[in-house]
């Protein structure tokens, strides 16, 4: 390796700096939601500083200053994020370090290093979001960086703000020519799923692993897609309101905080009986957790082969073997309308203990305990007790709201007897605690209820706002039975979905939010007719996203092996195949691009071709051109050697020089090309004439 040989110390011009800063700004904009505000402010200031240095032609800051800035950056990230490792901190560091690197941008070498790192910075945004929009932007910005590199290497652009049109065309051409090879490499590069699988950070949204009243209601305004479900075409699907997607089960409750947690893993031996089989394909964005969603109740051994395998774990929930650090797609089969019951028939004693346990039971107020006792006495059987509690919710003047206000420490009694308003988690936790107090084994199930059907793409979208909590109680003979107390209070929540609840809430709570209904229900101000249009557009966009996910996620190790017929191949052989294909394709690409450009070259320089022919003719006739001779000097000499052909020689040269070196209209050039042809014709004739007598 030899050092860079194109003058590495050439100074950077103003426009070159502005263009690179532009690329940087575009890249940072892509990370707008991934970096903290203080860092954004800092890099804006640093960029402004760099611009001022350029404008005022002052010196760049010293190494000490830059090291100090880098130190502050590390410190800031450490304080803000708690670590300097991982994806999120790494991105922030990179954003900051590039800004500092601008402060030592002096030469070509720095310029290229920044450009290359910008490629990476841009690419990293795909680790945060793999949507079609972000991908498009990443491609665009990579194109911009490439165009800027090209501009840097063409002299005329050194002093211009924007690269010329020709340059953009060149960039586009190169990027397009690179695409086929890129696709082949993409298809053949051996995929090793989860080879390292380090969780260097993923965006956590949606459900939290524990549950405290207020957790789920915070999600009601979150329109983000939680996941997408597709069913086989023409399958018999349950109506959206009875779609209960199970995520995980909460066993443990701490009464002092009214907090439910998953507790330790409990091995149950359950089976699902009855109902009908329904296959689902679920597309799930990265959650960083291991839970997988499936309709109640998922099967352990699905009859069709899944492309992505989960296991049934504690609480009969589907778990992934690894945390989901990327968007995944998996198949699962559920028995819809079936029943979940222990294989043994009876609840094993250790499960029963777990399902009745209340930590810090003593903090529960006497009134609640008395109430639970009354329910138990009135209901007698577990099912009877459940019925009593649900009846209390239905008739006790309860109201369903996402803004129940702040409860005191003794939430249970305040909720049950005083305020009587809450979201699904209030009802579910209250009911589960009452059941346990009454001696009925039960647990909380966290998941999603309801879905939004997209008729264009024939799939369902489940949003974060659909997050839900319900109770599963153990009823002898029947097994684990789902009870949803929310449906007692707000049938609309179950039947229509959170949308309806939002409307209701909006009407109820307009005053409380100081006349800002928009904050509560963000589509409130939209006129009716536009609502329909927006809804339509929303559904169409969902369809595009679904197709995109399908495309992006469907290519995995299994489908690669299937596609390339590599099922039986060892890993080494697969790498060898990749290598061979890559080399062959790279060669083909080079040849193809070369050929494309040759053709273009030929088409453009019609006069050069004729000039070569002219040289060849005269050379054969005994007047070869000397290497250094220009057209006019050569014509002079050739005419003196071949006086008989002097006229066409001068004629040709005159036209040639005009076409080649003088500015002119395309029509004039075409006329001159014709003149070249005529002169060549005459020359050929004359030379043949003069050659034949000597031959005879």
């Amino acid at each position: 390796m030899s050092p860079s040989r194109l003058d590495p110390h050439a100074a950077i011009t103003g426009p070159q700096l502005y263009r690179l800063l532009g690329c940087y700004a575009a890249s940072v904009l892509l990370h707008l939601s991934n970096v903290s505000w203080w860092l954004l402010l800092a890099v804006i200031l640093l960029a402004y500083w760099r611009l001022q240095i350029k404008r005022a032609k002052t010196v760049l800051p010293s190494l000490f200053t830059r090291a100090l800035l880098a130190g502050f950056l590390f410190l800031g990230v450490l304080i803000d994020m708690g670590t300097v490792a991982g994806r999120d901190s790494g991105t922030m560091l990179m954003v900051g370090l590039v800004a500092i690197k601008f402060l030592e941008l002096r030469s070509k070498r720095d310029y290229l290093v920044i450009s290359f790192v910008l490629y990476f910075l841009t690419l990293v945004s795909l680790l945060f979001d793999q949507s079609i929009v972000v991908f498009g932007l990443v491609m665009l910005i990579c194109g911009l960086i490439t165009a800027n590199l090209l501009a840097y290497h063409t002299g005329e652009s050194a002093g211009v703000w924007l690269p010329r049109r020709r340059l953009l065309r060149l960039t586009s051409w190169m990027l397009i020519q690179a695409l086929p090879l890129a696709l082949v490499l993409f298809v053949f590069f051996p995929r090793v799923q989860g080879k390292f699988g380090f969780n260097l950070g993923i965006s956590k949204t949606g459900l939290s692993a524990d549950l405290q009243p207020g957790d789920v209601s915070a999600l009601i305004f979150d329109d983000e897609m939680a996941f997408r479900v597709e069913f086989p075409p023409d399958s018999d699907r349950p109506p959206p309101q009875s779609m209960y997607f199970r995520a995980f089960v909460l066993w443990d409750v701490d009464a002092s905080k009214n907090r439910w947690t998953q507790g330790r893993t409990i091995d149950e031996d359950n089976e699902v009986v009855g109902g009908r089989m329904l296959a689902q394909t679920v597309t799930l964005p990265a959650t960083g957790e291991r839970w997988l969603f499936a309709l109640d109740y998922p099967l352990d051994s699905p009859p069709i082969e899944p492309t992505w395998v989960g296991e049934i774990k504690s609480g009969h929930c589907l778990r992934s073997p690894r945390p989901l650090n990327r968007k995944v797609q998996y198949n699962v089969v559920s028995r819809v309308g079936g029943r979940l019951r222990p294989v043994a028939g009876e609840l094993p004693s250790y499960v029963r203990l777990e399902a009745l346990e209340i930590n810090n039971r003593r903090v529960i107020s006497a009134r609640v305990k008395r109430f639970a006792q009354r329910m138990k006495e009135r209901g007698e059987t577990p099912e009877g007790i459940v019925r009593e509690i649900l009846a209390y919710f239905r008739t006790g003047g309860f109201r369903y709201t996402s803004l129940p206000g702040t409860y005191s420490r003794d939430m249970l009694s305040e909720f049950l007897f005083v305020r009587k308003q809450g979201y699904c988690e209030h009802y579910a936790t209250a009911m589960a605690t009452l059941l346990r107090l009454a001696g009925v084994p039960c647990r909380l199930v966290v998941g999603y209820q309801g879905a939004e059907y997209n008729p264009y793409g024939d799939f369902y979208v489940v949003r974060q706002a659909n997050a839900h909590v319900w109770v599963e109680a153990f009823v002898p003979e029947k097994g684990w039975v789902r009870y949803d107390p929310t449906s007692m209070v707000s049938p609309a929540r179950i039947a229509v979905g959170p949308e309806q609840v939002r409307r209701e809430i909006n009407q109820t709570f307009t005053v409380e939010v100081a006349g800002q209904p928009i904050a509560l229900y963000n589509r409130n101000w939209v006129p009716e007719w536009m609502d329909v249009t927006l809804n339509e557009a929303d559904l169409r966009w969902q369809q595009v996203e679904q197709a995109w996910d399908q495309w992006v996620l469907s290519y995995n190790p299994e489908s690669q092996r299937e596609l390339l017929g590599q099922a039986g191949m060892s890993r080494r052989l697969r790498y060898l195949t990749f290598f061979l294909v890559a080399v062959i394709m790279a060669g083909l690409t080079l040849a193809l691009v070369w050929w494309l450009m040759r053709r273009k070259t030929k088409a453009v320089s019609a006069e050069l071709k004729r000039w070569e022919e002219f040289n060849r003719l005269l050379g054969d006739a005994g007047a070869p051109r000397r290497r250094w001779e220009g057209p006019l000097a050569y014509a002079q000499r050739a005419a003196s050697i071949l006086p008989g052909a002097a006229e066409p020689i001068h004629d040709f040269t005159e036209a040639y020089v005009r076409v080649r070196y003088a500015e002119g209209s395309p029509e004039a050039a075409r006329a001159d090309i014709q003149r070249l042809d005529r002169s060549l014709q005459r020359l050929r004739g004359l030379l043949k004439e003069s050659a034949s007598p000597t031959a005879v």
């Binding site: 194109l6 070498r109 002299g155 993409f186």
Partner: protein
């Protein structure tokens, strides 16, 4: 012109590291989109090789003007870089070995079919006859990821005259019979007009006032009254070593030429009849430049 060669640079290494980091990210997160962009960039680099190759393939280097110089002054070597293709050529660095010193000139762009004149400048420390060693064109077009270079077969000779230096006065003048009335050979006081400055000439007679007015470099010419015949014999400089002798002879020739005198040169192995004019001067200086002690 030779083949177009590719070589890796420090920038290749940097981009290689960036690509490696991208690959790790793609594998770790199993992210198809990262794979796709990574391979797209890799393919872009491969495609750019064709562009680099074309960029240098169309370069033709022709020798341009080269002026003889005196040792100790600057050697200026003109080169014509011609673009044979209908596309513009970009980011060329032309480099040549001049007296063992590498000199380079950057050309940002040459239009289709155009020729760019460049001037390579180097110190000329030693008298003698040389050849330009290895003219090479380098480029990092289009992306700066790797370098391309192409050697030229051009082997242009050039000459460095001895340094004009010496204290000794002119030897005796043998006056021309035709022009007896003038007895002064050194009367270079009569202004005789100006002519263009030739690179390599002493700067003593440059018309600096004209330069200050923005005019090109001109040399004031002075003539003495008459023209005599001068002989510069090697033997007249007995006390000096060889190089000092050559320098003295060079100095005399320049002086005589400036004063438009007729002069001849006698070397141990050659003899040049008196004459005047540029051709004559160059012939004599050339003989001094390549002079070698005849073997005894």
């Amino acid at each position: 012109m030779g083949r177009v060669r590719f070589y890796l640079t420090r920038n290749s290494l940097v981009l290689g590291l960036v690509f490696f980091a991208m690959l790790l990210a793609a594998i770790n997160y199993d992210n198809n989109l990262v794979y796709l962009i990574l391979f797209w960039l890799v393919a872009l680099v491969i495609v750019s090789m064709v562009y680099s190759h074309r960029n240098l393939k169309a370069v033709e280097i022709k020798p341009g003007a080269i002026w003889p110089v005196f040792a100790g002054s600057e050697l200026r070597f003109g080169l014509q870089v011609h673009n044979q293709s209908p596309q513009p050529l970009c980011a060329l660095v032309v480099r040549a070995q001049l007296n063992g010193e590498e000199v380079a000139e950057v050309i940002d762009e040459i239009g289709p079919g155009d020729t760019e004149q460049i001037l390579l400048v180097a110190e000329a420390p030693q008298r003698g006859l040389y050849r330009i060693g290895g003219v090479r064109v380098d480029s990092e077009f289009p992306l700066g990821v790797f370098g391309t270079s192409r050697e030229s077969t051009l082997a242009q000779p050039y000459i460095v005259y001895p340094e004009p230096r010496g204290e000794s006065p002119f030897p005796d003048i043998i006056y021309d019979a035709r022009d007896q009335q003038s007895g002064q050979q050194s009367g270079g006081d009569d202004f005789d007009g100006v002519r263009a400055y030739r690179p390599g000439e002493p700067q003593r007679h440059i018309d600096w006032k004209a330069v200050a007015r923005g005019l090109p470099l001109m040399v004031k010419q002075f003539t003495g009254g008459g023209s005599g015949r001068l002989w510069f014999p090697w033997q007249a400089l007995d006390g000096l070593d060889m190089e000092a002798r050559l320098s003295q002879l060079t100095y005399w020739i320049i002086q005589a030429d400036e004063q438009n005198l007729e002069y001849g040169l006698i070397l141990p192995d050659r003899r040049f009849e008196p004459g005047r004019g540029t051709e004559h001067r160059h012939e004599l200086l050339r003989a001094l430049a390549v002079y070698r002690q005849p073997s005894p």
